[in-house]
Symmetry: C2
Subunit: 328 residues, 2 copies
Amino acid sequence: MPEIRQDPVSGRLSLIAPERGQRPTDFRIPEEEEIENVRCPFCPENEELTPPETLRLSTGEGPSSWQVRVVPNRYPALRPDADNGAGDPFHRLTPGLGHHEVIIETPEHGKSLENFSPEELDLVFRAFVLRAEAFLQEGRWRYALFFKNRGRRAGASLSHSHSQLMALPFIPPLLEQELARAEAFHTETGECLFCQLVEKETSGPRLIFESENFVAFQAFAPRQPLETWIVPKPHGLDFLTLREDLRREFCESLLRVLRLLERTLPGLPYNFFLHLEPLGSPPLPYFHWHLELVPALTRVAGFEWGTEAYIVPLKPEEAAEFLRTLEP
Amino acid sequence: MPEIRQDPVSGRLSLIAPERGQRPTDFRIPEEEEIENVRCPFCPENEELTPPETLRLSTGEGPSSWQVRVVPNRYPALRPDADNGAGDPFHRLTPGLGHHEVIIETPEHGKSLENFSPEELDLVFRAFVLRAEAFLQEGRWRYALFFKNRGRRAGASLSHSHSQLMALPFIPPLLEQELARAEAFHTETGECLFCQLVEKETSGPRLIFESENFVAFQAFAPRQPLETWIVPKPHGLDFLTLREDLRREFCESLLRVLRLLERTLPGLPYNFFLHLEPLGSPPLPYFHWHLELVPALTRVAGFEWGTEAYIVPLKPEEAAEFLRTLEP
């Protein structure tokens, strides 16, 4: 029987309609069409195929001895020098100011993120943190966004493992909504919405696993089957100044999630992103930064575009139960 | 240079980033994979493959002499008899009550919507109106949603031309947002937001065409390249009680849009949907029902999921200029 659920964080509605009796392993992953460049612009020795790098993390000195590179996106959605555009009060338009960069996560062309070591994944987030700190120093941006597209169906146009980061001159609408709802919850109850969420999901039917400081669970009102969140348990952690051992633990949790999903549906295309506080925000009594992972399994179609609610054919509790059986 | 735009109706943000210099005809339409049933359940003579119909429009008397059939969706996202589910104040959950039906738009298996006559398309909307009136009579539903998915990439699982309709026990979140913004605009300015929109788009650079009572234009802040809206010009028209000549004119406008898009990108997968007033709403001084058509050309990826804003690589004004050149 279908259910109508409301996400406690964003307020988003999902119709959970497992009528086809699909199990977590029943979703079809289409073959990836390889329309790869002959020379991969993200491989060592091909550094001249990308714009000049904005950051490099490396152990050696040679031009191709890097572990992680950050380069401007060749087709940026925002640019620091945009100067066009004049709107009016009805049709609001501002120049597309910002940064849009790519994190080349590894020199190894065929290495997929779930096969990274925690140390290797940590370097990716370290690169993001260093760039976000630089954006903060520039004083022009309101938000540092980190997101990953894996697989063509999830929007990746190159297969060499990479993620993206942006400096935005606005707070993302979804974050505005999460922050506003969390603040209202705090005003009403005196409690942190995310502390409550951690408490409920740590002991509830959507839990996948917990570590000392993180909990991974299936979203209560997902946008896609197998939507997974990772939330830090302690209140008051800031991602950009996170202690190294905590960032390492976060990386271990994310790798554990990625490996469970890969075992469930090999080659699963997915997106994940960090929801952080706005750049330069003081500590908030009502928010925890967190990661949301949204697989690309069902299509965004007429219902979703027309309503901004979602139809999901798999119960999160069933997905969590399955994922727990894969755990050692 | 990229631009940041805000949709005047919903408030949604789009980054218009035409950096790749893509023209309207440059988008790649992937081949449709045909995973068709051997016997199409929507073809005449196969009526027993669908659940019993809730409506039939026909000229003759035979069991297969229909022009349009409405049948319950075999995999409904909502059901009138759902009775499960108990949430709590934190994790809100209600039974998935509603109707979810399919409109089989034609008996002809291979006939695509853009090749319908205005009379044939009018029967589809007539079927929707009759079902919506029945939903209104039931007194349990707050919204009648009409949407169409064309092509697998836009979520259609069968190729035989069909659309869907739902009776919802809630007002769709996107509609809530449009209604709230339109009401606020009316309170502030004393004007109808949609009357203003019609005035601006009829004389502006995003116009595709206008007829006596309708205007078709490229959305100012689209979610996808070639996103197209059709809005009635007169204030105060109600879709469910629309005069026959006006509904015919609306069908002619929609067919004109579909044919222009098909000429631009043959086989274009798309979704469209009606945004109507809530069921049983009194006439609103600040709203016009309208149709929004969203092509399935770019992927919803990490940026879109993480922000609920959109990156679109084609300027609506350029798309409109191109579509106007196709006009007779």
